[in-house]
């Protein structure tokens, strides 16, 4: 609503030409822009610049002014309408005759507006690099530093005055929750309260900034921006190993890695000269994208989807810009063209990762494991060398080996047939090669020429061949086969067949579960297979239950069943008979047996084959072999996904309407012009892009980050749209302060700790958060910072707080993600069979940021407290307040067991006497002393529950039963149960889950 009395328009004299800037713009400004300006844009129309007026409404779709055509101009129609419901402006008086005259003449004259020079500096505040603003002179009474002077100036302009400083207990709790995500311990509290020396508060700040918990807490917030998760997302949502990247973030905050290096290493650490392992791990930031392994997906479609996500995330996290709007069409509000979008896209379009593959993946040992892993590697190398060395002692041991092999006669096949269409070929060595069609299952029939040398044993050799996967000897994809059954027959002159009984089947090698005996047991479900011995020759030998006499010609036929399926058929085989009796010695591989028998005069290659086999047998080398096997069985270093550049960049095209199926013009990488030029020496790759972000001259990078850190402490940003500093984003509430902080941040080496130190030591930060109804009414959202901030803590902090108060918190930093208690069935709704299994020991009680994060089924109490799914970037969590949160804190077994823990701790560590113990527990949870009335409430509750549980010991036992050891200070179940319900109330206090 505007008041005509306030209008001071200098209307043009009738005879003057109309000047837009002088005559028309002030009119729009006074009468129209409140609704048709940058903020509301009603009907998609802005009347706050000449270009916008001519562009028209619905964001430029409908013209409202047609130059020279008064009757065709919608704007004229509406401002002159007789219909009160239609006439503009809808509130206040209709435009005066003079005002109408200005508009009429302006339109009739051609609606000229000042031309915007094409290279004019951008006018939107966020595209001009921040310049150190003058600090307001507001006197030194309240202000502790320049932050306060900026805040006080704005506060005074609103007619507000700062709140008094919060008491020390509140301050320490606030500081601890803000900097570490954990409440202070009673010892920390007492130490601070007792510290009368100057600088006591600053000492607490330093203590907290130096703690591991600080680094964990800062990292936890970064994980939302990085959309970090432990699974791939989409339908299958399988596990991935990314925790080394998460730990890199923790370590980066711990050593206060400058935000410039923090940025460069995450976006382009792999491209740094002589990139270290840690710098390569850092690039996992952009491998946190989702991966779709669903059937039939086009890998290119999802590769492009990942690149799109990287561009959008980079825009939200570093540029505070909704770049994604420019993907399908040039940005409607911000000066970013679709072509510029794809030039940024080009930076991220040349990495090696494609589709569902998890490559490139890096082995990333932790620093503390490097020495042990190196020692292990050198021991492995030494053992391998030992096993590869041929010594006289081994030569002697080999020479002493008696050839135990029977004398075999190879039977030449006269007929060979495959039931399911494989092609059988007789080879010169008497073997049969199976090739051609590769049926799922098969049955072979082999017939042989008459033999009259007698036989006590039958042998099947399966032989490797280049024709088969991994050289066979089987035809399955892994080179294996299953010989399910074998039947032997004697065929007489008339063709009548007599079965030959086979016994004592053995083999030189049996895959576990697939023994040689399975071939002659009449059961097609059992059989002989050789996985673990792929690519080598093997033999299967059976004794003839009734030996064939010599001198009687015998015609043999064999039937081999291969019923397993999956093409598990033999690829090459040879059949032999021996008239020697079985020796009882272990069978050797047939090729070795042959070499041992020939021993002398072997070719070099044959000798090496024999020696290689013998090194695997020799007793002298057994310790080395066993040690090597044990070392190789140890888990390797963790892996993590990283970015890796293709040797030659992939061509990038503008994708029409954003579709990967419609590539258009090819573009080279480059940055949006409105955000300033690349540094002169910037390479044309991700590294150049990252250096552009942190050159110090960038208009957005520092502003966006300091705003986010501000929001982390004060509950809302100076720009409340953390991800959008563009024209559609919120205007900063304290623009000068934002710029001052951005300049300071860069000048102090992008030090996060320095910036946080500046903020938390300010008088602004230290204000009491109590609020009167009047103050609340004047500034409900605390925009003007005339009191301390107050908000419910984040999901992980809710759990971490309860863990800390219960005394159960495990302070281990880093490592693989853990599985705190979760009610059954949460993962059942997902599309895979993966199961959640609660962690034991300390991992049950780790900080929330270590909780295994499954994108399709995140930890349910985190979801209840507004944690995102981490499918895409999240720059701000909402802060809801729902009955589901009440149910979770009251009833989730994971929280109930922490109430039991807190109760046991109170009984164990608290002072004697109910009221003293209750006061102790209350102070533990809230950092402040309970008053008498509060203690009365708690004491009454405790007394009531004590009586209740004393009368119902079964209920008490049920409540306090926990699956871990707990020192309850000697209390019985009823006592512990009464304290558990009291502790449950304390953990549910609004105060306990609120940072105030």
């Amino acid at each position: 609503m505007l008041f005509p009395a306030l209008l001071t328009l200098s209307l043009a004299a009738p005879q003057d030409a109309i000047d837009y800037a002088r005559d028309v713009a002030p009119l729009f400004e006074a009468r129209c822009v409140e609704c048709h300006g940058a903020e509301k844009r009603k009907a998609g129309l802005r009347l706050d610049s000449g270009a916008a007026v001519l562009a028209g409404s619905d964001h430029g779709e409908v013209a409202v002014v047609v130059p020279g055509d008064l009757d065709g101009s919608l704007l004229w129609e509406l401002v002159t309408s007789d219909d009160e419901d239609e006439r503009m402006p809808p509130e206040g008086a209709a435009l005066s005759a003079d005002e109408l005259d200005v508009l009429r003449r302006w339109i009739v004259d051609g609606a000229r507006v000042p031309a915007a020079a094409p290279d004019a500096a951008p006018t939107h505040w966020a595209w001009t690099p921040p310049v150190r603003p003058a600090v307001p002179a507001v006197g030194d009474g309240w202000a502790r530093g320049d932050v306060d002077r900026f805040v006080l100036a704005r506060m005074q302009a609103q007619g507000l005055a700062p709140a008094p400083e919060a008491d020390r207990a509140t301050l320490l709790r606030r500081l601890s929750l803000d900097l570490t995500g954990l409440p202070p311990t009673l010892a920390e509290l007492d130490a601070f309260l007792a510290d009368a020396a100057p600088g006591a508060y600053e000492r607490q700040v330093e203590r907290l900034l130096a703690s591991d918990a600080y680094a964990e807490h800062m990292a936890r917030a970064w994980l939302d921006l990085a959309r970090y998760a432990d699974t791939n997302g989409y339908e299958k949502d399988e596990r991935r190993s990314m925790w080394r990247w998460r730990d890199w973030v923790i370590e980066a905050y711990a050593r206060d890695l400058g935000y410039d290096a923090f940025t460069v290493e995450q976006l382009a650490g792999d491209l740094l000269p002589d990139a270290t392992l840690e710098q390569r791990i850092a690039t996992g930031f952009h491998r946190n994208t989702m991966v779709n392994a669903e059937g039939g997906v086009d890998p290119e479609e999802y590769r492009v989807a990942a690149v799109v996500d990287r561009v959008d995330t980079t825009g939200a996290v570093w540029l505070g810009t909704t770049l994604g709007c420019a993907r399908c069409h040039s940005h409607k509000y911000d000066p970013i063209s679709q072509r510029e979008y794809f030039r940024v896209f080009a930076y991220f379009n040349s990495t090696k990762d494609v589709g569902p593959s998890d490559q490139p993946r890096l082995e990333a040992p932790r620093a503390q494991d490097v020495a042990a892993l190196a020692a292990r590697a050198s021991e492995v190398a030494a053992l391998e060398a030992e096993l590869a060395t041929w010594t006289p002692a081994l030569e002697a041991e080999l020479a002493a080996l008696a050839p135990a092999a029977p004398r075999w006669r190879v039977l030449a096949a006269t007929e060979a047939a495959s039931r399911d269409g494989a092609t059988l070929t007789k080879l010169a060595d008497g073997s049969v090669l199976v090739a051609g069609e590769s049926p799922e299952r098969d049955a072979l029939t082999l017939a042989f020429a008459p033999d009259a040398d007698g036989a006590q044993q039958l042998r099947i050799e399966v032989l490797p061949d280049d024709a088969h996967p991994r050289r066979g000897p089987g035809r399955a994809g892994n080179g294996n086969f299953v010989l399910s059954e074998l039947r032997a027959f004697l065929v007489d002159e008339a063709g009548a067949r007599t079965p030959l009984a086979l016994a004592d089947a053995r083999a030189d090698y049996e895959q576990p579960g697939w023994p040689a005996a399975g071939v002659v047991d009449g059961d097609a479900a059992t059989g002989w297979a050789v996985d673990g011995g792929i690519g080598r020759a093997h033999q299967w030998v059976a004794r003839l239950a009734v030996p064939l006499p010599a001198d009687v010609p015998a015609r043999l036929e064999l039937e081999l069943d291969e019923a397993y399926g999956g093409r598990h058929t033999i690829g090459r085989l040879r059949v032999s008979l021996s008239n020697d009796a079985p020796s009882g010695a272990a069978l050797l591989p047939p090729d070795v047996e042959d070499l041992l028998a020939r021993r002398e005069g072997l070719a070099d290659a044959e000798r090496e084959t024999l020696r290689a086999w013998f090194r695997g047998q020799a007793a002298a080398l057994a310790p080395a072999r066993e040690r090597l096997a044990a070392l190789r069985a140890l888990p390797g270093p963790p892996t993590t996904l990283v970015m890796e550049e293709l040797p030659a960049p992939r061509a990038t095209h503008v994708l029409e309407r954003g579709s990967f199926l419609a590539p258009g013009e090819e573009v080279a990488c480059g940055v949006p012009a409105v955000m300033g030029p690349l540094p002169d020496d910037a390479p044309a790759n991700r590294l150049g892009f990252a250096r552009w972000l942190v050159s110090g001259a960038h208009p957005l990078t520092a502003r966006v980050e300091v705003n986010r850190l501000w929001a982390q402490l004060f509950g809302r940003g100076l720009v409340t749209t953390e991800q959008d500093f563009g024209t559609q984003g919120a205007t900063p509430t304290h623009p000068a302060l934002l710029d001052w902080l951005a300049v300071e941040f860069v000048e102090r080496g992008w030090s996060t700790k320095a910036l946080l130190r500046e903020l938390v030591t300010s008088a602004t930060y230290r204000q009491d958060s109590r609020v009167s109804a009047d103050a609340l009414a004047r500034d409900p959202a605390n925009v003007w910072l005339a009191r301390g901030a107050r908000y419910r803590v984040d999901a992980e902090v809710v759990r971490d707080t309860a863990l800390a108060l219960s005394g159960l918190l495990d302070r281990t930093v880093g490592g693989p993600s853990v599985f705190p208690p979760q009610v059954p069935g949460i993962w059942r709704q997902t599309y895979s069979d993966d199961r959640w299994s609660n962690s034991d020991g300390g991992d049950r009680f780790r900080r929330g940021l270590y909780t295994f994060w499954r994108r399709t089924a995140p930890y349910p109490t985190f979801v209840a407290f507004d944690a995102p799914s981490r499918e895409v970037v999240c720059t701000r969590r909402s802060r809801s307040n729902t009955p589901l949160q009440a149910l979770a804190l009251l009833n989730d077994p994971a929280y109930v067991e922490l109430a039991v823990g807190l109760a046991a701790r109170a009984l164990r560590e608290g002072p004697q006497g109910d009221r003293a113990r209750l006061a102790w527990a209350f102070r533990l949870c809230t950092a402040r002393a309970a008053d008498a009335a509060e203690l009365d409430v708690l004491a009454a509750l405790l007394d009531g529950e004590r009586a209740h549980f004393a009368a119902d010991p079964d209920a008490a036992a049920a409540l306090v039963r926990v699956p871990f050891e707990l020192d309850r200070g000697g209390a019985d179940d009823a006592e512990l149960a009464a304290w558990t319900l009291t502790a449950n109330v304390l953990l549910n206090l609004a105060e306990t889950v609120t940072r105030s």
């Binding site: 205007t731 009610v823 809801s880 307040n881 589901l884 009251l890 009531g944």
Partner: protein, 472 residues
């Protein structure tokens, strides 16, 4: 412009009197002020319907074996499909030139409307005159997750609010002790899209679907811990309230007042949700109508609970039943064993829901939607030479039905070509379905918007039109 930061209740909302505040209004975001949203909540004009029950057959049933008979398929049965149908097509699993597969099931005409339906759906066939059968649905996604997300949120990209969340945001709830948007799952697994299917996207999280579970607590953490009875809980909450009120008096933070109210409401839910889930008040005749066996979870029970939910004023109920992904790789997902089994699990209860709503006078104000996220191919998939009959994913044509809420009963809408491959008459894109549903609920789909990341978003993206031909 102040930011779209609607997390905090305004003083006005808080002082509006929490004693009388309803859970529905809280869950539906009425406590969240009007800040941030564009001017956009409904209703924009008088509504025909108040509730939606969406029976989502996750995995996507074969329209060719249930709703859309194609005698011509018999001419080509087990022969290569004419190439003009598949040139340039991409399939999830089919490789090479696929072979046509005729339906192994018989169809017959039912009701006065003469709807031609498969023998697998006898109960649905019996209420054919109450249904609006659409044989011309089209989507542009052919994998489960993106297609389900598209059907539920109007976009294949994760992160948008689902239909139920939009309705919760736009219309709130009419119920004071249940959420506005309730989700139930049945079958061996959940839908592949996971919780995103009922997420609130960028809307405040109070609008996300609340899952009523079939086993364990109907709502997560609804039950008191072991050893804690209701009197015990009452004593705890009294103490909690007393302490929170003292704190509120000291610091004046309205958020504490909200939290006090939420604890009271959680207690009410502890009564209302089990009462909802307790079917003892249902007659044996009703249980039989749905095919509910007391004590057993599953689709039939969920369908009955859906009626009980809308009876209590819940705005949107979304059921997912897993197991329609009939690829034919084994009897577990084929047309001869698995498909009839899914029909047995859902046919009776789906029809019963319509019948039951109607006889209770609720059908006029409740829209029931039945269908999958896409269709299935007219060709046999034969993955890896499988001999079980099955069909691959097919985005170009599928069938759904609607009932109640002002949709035209007995209408047969749309048609496909003689092989059932493409829609040849009245295609119904997902956005048009959404626009029409919203219309019946009194919402102009172009006006229900939310400002996020630089622009106004809506369920129908930049498309959608109200298809009045579907309406009575």
């Amino acid at each position: 412009m102040d930011a779209p930061l609607p997390q905090r209740p305004s003083r006005r909302d808080v002082l509006g009197g929490f004693a009388a505040a309803s859970l529905g209004s809280l869950l539906a975001g009425r406590a969240f002020g009007e800040g941030g949203a564009s001017l956009a909540r409904g209703p924009h004009f008088p509504a025909k319907a108040k509730h939606v029950i969406w029976l989502h057959m996750a995995g996507s049933p074969s329209q060719l074996d249930l709703f859309d008979e194609k005698p011509k398929l018999r001419d080509f049965d087990r022969k290569p499909i004419p190439p003009e149908f598949v040139a340039g097509e991409r399939f999830a699993f089919i490789e090479g030139t696929p072979k046509v597969l005729a339906s192994p099931y018989a169809f017959a005409r039912h009701g006065e409307c003469g709807a031609n339906l498969s023998e697998l759906l006898p109960h649905t066939a019996a209420i054919a005159d109450k249904l609006t059968i659409v044989r011309s649905m089209v989507t542009d996604q052919f994998n489960h997750t993106p297609a389900q997300i598209f059907l539920n949120t109007g976009s294949p990209v994760l992160g948008r609010p689902s239909v139920g969340a939009w309705l919760s945001y736009g219309l709130g709830s009419e119920c004071d002790d249940l959420p506005a948007f309730v989700v139930m799952l049945s079958g061996a697994k959940g839908p592949s899209g996971g919780t995103s299917l009922w997420g609130s996207g960028f809307l405040p999280t109070v609008h996300q679907g609340v899952r009523l579970r079939g086993d364990g607590d109907p709502v997560l953490y609804l039950s008191n811990p072991p050893g804690v009875d209701d009197a015990c809980r009452r004593r705890s909450l009294d103490a909690l309230r007393a302490l929170n009120e003292r704190r509120l008096a000291d610091v004046g933070d309205p958020e504490i007042e909200t939290r006090i109210a939420q604890y009271d409401l959680s207690l009410r839910m502890q009564a209302s949700v089990p009462a909802l889930a307790d079917l003892a008040s249902e007659s044996q005749e009703t249980l039989d109508l749905y095919g509910v066996t007391p004590g057993e979870s599953g689709f039939a029970r969920n369908a009955l609970l859906a009626r009980r939910l809308v009876e209590r004023g819940v705005r949107h109920v979304h059921l997912y039943h897993w197991g329609w992904d009939s690829h034919g790789t084994s009897p577990g997902d084929d047309l001869m064993t698995s498909l009839p089994q899914r029909c047995l699990e859902t046919d009776r209860a789906s029809a019963a829901l319509v019948t039951d709503l109607e006889r209770r006078g609720l059908l006029d104000e409740t829209i029931v939607v039945w269908g999958g996220e896409f269709g299935r191919t007219p060709m046999n998939e034969a993955r890896n030479g499988s001999t079980y009959l099955g069909r691959d994913h097919h985005p170009h044509a599928f069938s759904i039905w609607l009932a109640g809420g002002g949709f035209r009963p007995g209408l047969q809408y749309g048609a496909t070509d003689e092989l059932g491959y493409f829609v040849v008459e009245d295609p119904l894109p997902v956005h048009d379905l959404h626009a029409t549903l919203l219309h019946q609920l009194g919402i102009d789909h172009e006006k229900l918007t939310y400002f996020f990341q630089g622009r106004d978003f809506r369920l129908t993206d930049v498309a959608g039109k109200v298809v009045t031909e579907l309406l009575a």
